[in-house]
């Protein structure tokens, strides 16, 4: 009888051990989750990724949300936040004093200057004075269709005087930014979101989200492919979906980013004419070349800048620019629906 009891205890011990092993084995299996949050960069952020449990995923999603909100505050041009010197702080101090800012703002502004140089001035972060005029006209026009108007040429010309990139003075050593022209302002809308997505994607990798797809309002960035090794499928939305498919192209990515600039999300109409939120710094008017331009490359900030730049220039000039860049592809959708690609944009069709 005693032996039997000992045997029983042994079996019980084995069972408990086996149970523990099983549970751990199960827990290592990754499952796919998707999460959404709002608030940052005035858009929806969707994160698709893999985790051991919903709880684990939610925790990491919360970390990404915090990180993105941090950049949202830094790059905000409409609001100030306690204890944070952001872009609005710099704008408010224009012509008066230099503002001490976070290293990441300096980093972003450097990127802005670099992109300005590389895109022949088609991406212009010191262009706030003109952009805000258009912004106000757009909001007014959306509020009441009857009063919808576009800024006059004189108004635009007057504002455009205060957009000299050289008046944006960055003091690296003191970590300060100064706008020499009191009438000028920064608007980092063309690169801020892209820069932030890039940082959040890098952060996701740091906290162990190895297979993650982040989309901040259609600004998509992949951190590794799916857990099974296949790439993510990203659809390029049809800018004119009234008659046809919601997506006009699909792209497979397992690293890198894809960003689209289009005329179909933020726009208003004056006398039947569509005026979108992107303004060409050379004409002070919304460009009429395309309904959307998508750019894929390694860095989301660069992709964001170039999608704006290409939207602001003719196809040939844009293509030349893209071909000059290492590891960058683009897709243009004309106002008439015509689709053009640079060499390796659509990797599915190449195969």
């Amino acid at each position: 009888m005693k032996k039997l009891r000992q045997a029983g205890i042994l079996v019980a011990a084995v069972l408990v051990l086996a149970g523990v092993v099983c549970i751990q084995y199960y827990n290592q299996k990754l499952q796919r989750y998707e999460g959404q949050f709002f608030g940052s960069f005035d858009t929806v952020t969707t994160v698709t990724g893999y985790a051991k449990s919903q709880k684990d995923f939610s925790e990491k999603l919360g970390l990404l949300e915090e990180k993105l909100a941090h950049y949202h505050q830094l790059f905000d041009i409409y609001h100030t936040y306690d204890g944070v010197n952001n872009i609005k702080t710099i704008n408010d101090a224009a012509g008066k004093q230099a503002v001490k800012v976070d290293g990441e703002i300096l980093d972003l502004l450097r990127l802005g200057k670099d992109m300005y140089a590389r895109t022949e001035g088609k991406v212009h972060i010191a262009y706030g004075s003109v952009l805000s005029l258009w912004h106000d006209c757009r909001e007014e026009g959306l509020r009441s269709q009857e009063q919808a108007r576009i800024p006059t040429e004189e108004e635009l010309a007057k504002r455009a005087v205060h957009t000299d990139m050289d008046d944006l003075v960055i003091d690296e050593e003191a970590a300060t930014v100064f706008l020499r022209d009191g009438e000028m302002s920064l608007d980092v809308g063309s690169i801020g979101k892209g820069y932030a997505v890039q940082k959040v994607a890098e952060y996701a990798r740091e906290i162990g989200m190895e297979h993650t797809l982040i989309s901040v309002g259609g600004n998509v960035c992949a951190v590794g492919g799916k857990a099974d090794g296949t790439p993510w499928v990203v659809g390029v939305e049809n800018p004119r979906p009234d008659n046809g498919e919601p997506y006009i192209a699909t792209v497979e990515i397992d690293s890198g980013c894809i960003v689209t600039s289009g005329d179909y999300q933020r726009y208003y109409e004056v006398e039947g004419e569509r005026y979108c939120h992107i303004i060409d710094p050379d004409t002070n008017m919304p460009p009429q070349y395309f309904s959307s331009v998508s750019v894929r490359t390694k860095d989301s900030g660069v992709a964001d800048a170039f999608s704006t730049a290409l939207f602001n220039m003719e196809y040939e000039a844009g293509l030349a620019l893209v071909e000059n860049m290492e590891d960058m592809e683009a897709m243009w959708v004309g106002k008439d629906g015509q689709i053009r690609y640079s060499g390796g944009f659509n990797n599915d069709e190449e195969k």
Binding site: F38, D42, G218, V234, P241
Partner: protein, 124 residues
């Protein structure tokens, strides 16, 4: 075989059949058909099957509103009080997981049980 065996057998078969009935009833109640689910500030406001054409006004106490229209199996916002009208400009949605969002009004419409599009994210 005893009489009790037969009773047991019958009881189990009845239990299984009752279970089938319950499950099919339950799944009929929690419809699997495609529907648009409207949320305000994260709280569910209503579910509207995509198979029925309808127009819903999602109004809030402060007077802000979004008009949700369901037509031809797709949902779209046709009018809204928000300043940017991004939700109104958004194309109609009907695919699984697609959504219409109006940030100023904190209003979200999400498609449940929609057609699978085979796309992980969209760029726009």
């Amino acid at each position: 075989m005893k009489k009790n065996d037969v009773i047991l057998l019958a009881a189990l078969i009845v239990a299984a059949l009752a279970g089938f009935g319950g499950v099919s009833l339950y799944s009929k109640l929690s419809t699997r058909e495609p529907q648009a689910v409207a949320y305000l500030d994260g709280e569910e406001q209503g579910r509207y099957p995509l198979s029925e054409d309808t127009t819903v006004e999602i109004r809030q106490t402060d007077g802000s509103y979004n008009i949700l229209q369901i037509q031809n199996g797709k949902a779209e916002i046709t009018a809204a009080s928000c300043p940017d009208k991004v939700c109104v400009n958004h194309r109609p949605v009907g695919g699984q997981g697609e959504s219409l969002v109006c940030l100023p009004n904190k209003m979200v419409v999400e498609i449940e049980n929609g057609e699978e599009l085979g796309i992980d994210a969209g760029t726009r």
